[in-house]
C-alpha cells in the first residue's frame, strides 16, 4: 500500500480537513488500486463523508492532497468530476421528476452523445428494475428503487471510479444484497469502487478496508489481514442474562474488554486459554446459567470494536484536556 503504485487510481497523501478548531480528517494516507472495492469504515462523524467529499471535489482540503484518476484534488477538481460517479447517503434525485426525466437530466448534464443516451437509459432502467415505472414520479418509488435509480444516474456516464457514501443506509436487506451484487459486477468490469459503510457484513464484501476513527485512519488492509492482525484472543460466552454476565466478566483478571454480542458476550482477552476457566468459574459462582466459554475467530466487528477501544484508551486523556 504505497502511494507510488502505478495502478493506484485514488491516492490520499497526508489529507487533512479542519472545520475551525475541529479536525474532521487528520493526515490520512492511503491508495486504492484499479478495479478494487475499497471499504471505508468508521462510526458516524468519524470523517468518512468529509474524506469522500474532498476526493470528489466538493470540499477543499485544509492541508495535504491526493489524486483521483491521475488528477490533483487541489488543482483539478473539475477534471475529476468528469471521471467519477458519486452517490451520497441522502437520496438526491428530483422527486418531482419522473424516472425517465431524472435519467435524461443526468445524461444531458454529463453530455452523453445522443446515440449512447438511449442505450444508457435502457441500461439504467433495466438495472434498477424500473421498466414498469418509467413515467412514475420518483418521489413515489420505494427506497430500494430510488437507491438503484440514484446509482444509475450517478454512473450514467460510465465513470471509471465510483464514490458511494453510505449507499445502503435505510434500505432493506434484500435490496442491500442486490445492490452489492451490482457493485461486484461493476468492479468485475474494471470500475474502482470507493464505498463508505458502517454495516460490518458489507465490509466483508470489500477487497480492502480502511477504518477511520475521529478523523484518523487506524487500520488498513484486506478483511483477512485485519482479522489476523488482532493480537488479543476472543472468547464467546453464551448466556441467558448477558447484562449481568457482562458486569461480572468485565472486572475479571485477564479480561481486557467485554461487549454484548447477540445472545451472549464477546470477551477480549490476552490469552484465551487462561481466561476461559476464570470466566466459567466466576459466572457459575454468580449463579448464572451459561454455556461453556470458547475461543472464536474474531469477526470484523470484533476487530473494529477492539481497535476503537484501544484507540480510546490511548487518546482519552488527551481528548479530555483538549475539550
Amino acid at each position: 500500500m504505497t502511494g507510488t503504485d502505478s495502478s493506484a487510481v485514488v491516492v490520499l497523501h497526508d489529507l487533512e480537513r479542519r472545520f475551525g478548531d475541529f479536525v474532521a480528517v487528520n493526515r490520512i494516507n492511503l491508495s486504492v488500486q484499479r478495479g478494487e472495492i475499497f471499504g471505508f469504515l468508521g462510526p458516524n462523524g468519524a470523517g468518512k463523508s468529509t474524506t469522500i467529499r474532498m476526493l470528489c471535489g466538493l470540499l477543499t482540503p485544509s492541508a495535504g492532497g491526493g489524486s483521483v484518476a491521475g488528477f490533483d484534488i487541489n488543482t483539478a477538481p473539475e477534471q475529476i468530476k468528469e471521471r467519477i460517479g458519486y452517490m451520497s447517503q441522502k437520496f438526491s434525485l428530483y422527486e418531482d421528476l419522473t424516472v425517465e426525466e431524472n435519467i435524461d437530466f443526468y445524461a444531458g448534464i454529463y453530455k452523453l452523445p445522443t446515440a449512447r443516451r438511449e442505450e444508457r437509459k435502457r441500461w439504467v432502467i433495466a438495472m434498477a428494475g424500473l421498466e414498469e415505472h418509467r413515467q412514475s414520479l420518483t418521489g413515489t418509488l420505494s427506497g430500494g428503487w430510488k437507491q438503484r435509480l440514484a446509482l444509475g444516474c450517478a454512473i450514467i456516464h460510465e465513470p471509471p471510479i465510483i464514490f458511494l457514501d453510505e449507499p445502503t443506509a435505510g434500505v432493506d436487506p434484500i435490496s442491500r444484497r442486490s445492490f452489492w451484487e451490482l457493485i461486484y459486477q461493476l468492479a468485475d468490469a474494471g470500475v474502482t469502487v470507493f464505498v463508505t459503510t458502517h454495516y460490518m457484513d458489507e465490509a466483508e464484501y470489500c477487497d480492502c478496508l480502511g477504518l477511520i476513527y475521529r478523523g484518523e485512519l487506524i487500520a488498513l488492509g484486506t478483511p483477512e489481514e485485519l482479522k489476523g492482525a488482532m493480537t488479543e484472543e476472543l472468547v464467546e460466552v453464551a448466556c441467558e442474562q448477558p447484562q449481568e454476565a457482562l458486569f461480572i466478566v468485565e472486572g475479571l483478571p485477564g479480561v481486557q474488554h467485554a461487549a454484548l454480542f447477540g445472545r451472549g458476550l464477546h470477551v477480549v482477552t490476552a490469552r484465551a486459554g487462561e481466561a476461559i476457566p476464570v470466566i466459567a468459574t466466576a459466572l457459575t459462582a454468580a449463579g448464572l446459567r451459561t454455556g461453556q466459554p470458547e475461543r472464536i475467530v474474531p469477526s470484523l466487528e470484533d476487530v473494529f470494536v477492539s481497535l476503537i477501544e484501544a484507540r480510546d484508551r490511548q487518546t482519552a486523556p488527551q481528548v479530555e484536556v483538549a475539550r
Partner: protein
C-alpha cells in the same frame, strides 16, 4: 455547447409547471393583484366624510354647505349641535373634517364685514389633511368671490364687469390627474420584482435543502451553465407577467400606453437582470429557504420605499437619493412611467437603461462568482 444549459432549462420548466401552487403563483396571483391594487392603490381624495355644525342656519350658511357637498370632495354625513359631538366623530374616525359656521354668519356678511368659518380636519394623515384643506379653501374662496361680485353688481349696475385674472391650467401626461394612471405601472414594476426575486432567491437554496445540490455540483457542470439555467426560466416568467399585467392595465384600467412596447420589452430585460441577479445572489449565499426569504424581504422592503413609487425620490435627503441609485426598482419606475404616460423613448430614458444594465450585469456576475461548486 449548450447541451447542459438546455438540459437545465428543460428540468426547471418541468418542475415549475408541474407544481400547481407554482402555476398559481406565476399565472393567477399577478392578475388578481393588479386588479385589486388598480382599485385600491390611489391617492385621490374625494368624498371626505364631513360633519357640519351650522349655528347660523341662514341662506348663505346653507349655500356654503351645499357648495361643499356639490364639489364632490365633501360628503356631509352628520349635522351636529355641539362642539363635543365634532370631537367625538373625529375621534372615532367617522368624519375626517368638520365645518363650523357661527351664529351671525349671514348678518356679518350683510353688514359688509368678513365672516369667519371654522374648518377642522383630522391631521393624523397629514397628506389627506393638506388636500382636504386646500379643497375647503378653494370652495370658500369661490363662494366669497361670488358674494363680493354680487355686491359690486348691485352697487354699480348689471353692466359692470370686474377686472380679474384667470388661471388657465393644463396638466400634461395625465390630463384628469387620475392617480391610478401613475400607480398601476408602479404596481406592475413591484410585482415583477417580488415574483422574480422570490422565485430566484428560493431556487438554488431549495436544491441545497433537498440535497440535490450535492449531486449537481459533483458533475462537471459549469457555474454559468447552472446559474443561467436557474435564471432564464424566471426571466421568461417575468416577461410573461409584464405582458399579462400590461394587457390588463391597458384594457381594464384604460391606462394609456404612449411609448414603444419594444422599448418596454428591452427595459424589462435589463430590469430582470438585476432582480434575478439579486435573488440569485441571496440564494447562493443562503443556507436555508427561510434565510433566503428573510433576506429577499430585507431587500425588497427598502427597495419599494426608496423607489419613488409612493414617496418622490426628490424629496429624500441627498445622501439617500444617492443610495437609491443601486435600487433597480427606482430606475424601472422612471422608465415604465416614461413609456406608459409620457410616451418618451430611448433619447430620454437611456441613462436609466444603461444604469440598470450595468447594475444587473455586475450583480449577476457577482452571483456566478460567489456560487461555489463546493459544500461548506
Amino acid at each position: 455547447m449548450f447541451t447542459r444549459l438546455k438540459t437545465m432549462l428543460i428540468k426547471e420548466f418541468i418542475q415549475i409547471l408541474r407544481d400547481p401552487k407554482m402555476r398559481a403563483v406565476i399565472l393567477i396571483v399577478p392578475m388578481v393583484q393588479i386588479i385589486i391594487f388598480g382599485y385600491a392603490v390611489n391617492t385621490d381624495v374625494k368624498h371626505i366624510a364631513t360633519a357640519i355644525y351650522d349655528l347660523d342656519n341662514s341662506v348663505p350658511s346653507r349655500e356654503l354647505a351645499a357648495r361643499l357637498q356639490q364639489s364632490g370632495y365633501f360628503d356631509l354625513v352628520a349635522r351636529v349641535g355641539t362642539t363635543d359631538e365634532i370631537r367625538d366623530l373625529i375621534d372615532h374616525g367617522r368624519v375626517k373634517a368638520a365645518v363650523q359656521i357661527n351664529h351671525g354668519f349671514a348678518a356679518t356678511i350683510d353688514a359688509g364685514r368678513t365672516a369667519p368659518v371654522q374648518v377642522i380636519v383630522d391631521g393624523s394623515d397629514s397628506n389627506t389633511a393638506r388636500i382636504v384643506l386646500s379643497h375647503a379653501v378653494k370652495i370658500a374662496g369661490n363662494f366669497s368671490d361670488q358674494l363680493l361680485l354680487e355686491r359690486e353688481v348691485r352697487r354699480r349696475g348689471a353692466s359692470w364687469q370686474p377686472a380679474e385674472m384667470a388661471l388657465q391650467s393644463r396638466t400634461w401626461f395625465n390630463e384628469n390627474l387620475e392617480s391610478r394612471n401613475y400607480y398601476v405601472p408602479g404596481v406592475m414594476a413591484q410585482m415583477v420584482l417580488i415574483v422574480t426575486m422570490m422565485l430566484s432567491a428560493m431556487s438554488v437554496v431549495r436544491e441545497k435543502e433537498i440535497g440535490t445540490m450535492e449531486q449537481i455540483i459533483v458533475t462537471p457542470i459549469r457555474r454559468w451553465e447552472f446559474i443561467l439555467g436557474k435564471t432564464l426560466p424566471f426571466a421568461l416568467i417575468g416577461y410573461l407577467n409584464v405582458a399579462m399585467v400590461t394587457t390588463l392595465a391597458v384594457f381594464w384600467f384604460d391606462i394609456p400606453i404612449r411609448g414603444s412596447l419594444l422599448l418596454l420589452g428591452a427595459a424589462t430585460g435589463v430590469y430582470l437582470l438585476s432582480t434575478l441577479g439579486f435573488g440569485l445572489l441571496i440564494s447562493t449565499v443562503s443556507h436555508s429557504q427561510q434565510q433566503a426569504m428573510m433576506s429577499a424581504f430585507m431587500f425588497m422592503f427598502p427597495a419599494m420605499l426608496l423607489s419613488g413609487f409612493a414617496f418622490p425620490v426628490e424629496n429624500m435627503p441627498e445622501s439617500i437619493q444617492y443610495l437609491t441609485w443601486i435600487n433597480p426598482l427606482r430606475h424601472y419606475l422612471v422608465i415604465i412611467r416614461g413609456i406608459f404616460l409620457k410616451g418618451v423613448g430611448m433619447e430620454v430614458l437611456w441613462p436609466q437603461i444603461v444604469f440598470l444594465a450595468l447594475l444587473g450585469g455586475s450583480i449577476l456576475a457577482t452571483a456566478v462568482y460567489r456560487f461555489r461548486k463546493t459544500v461548506s
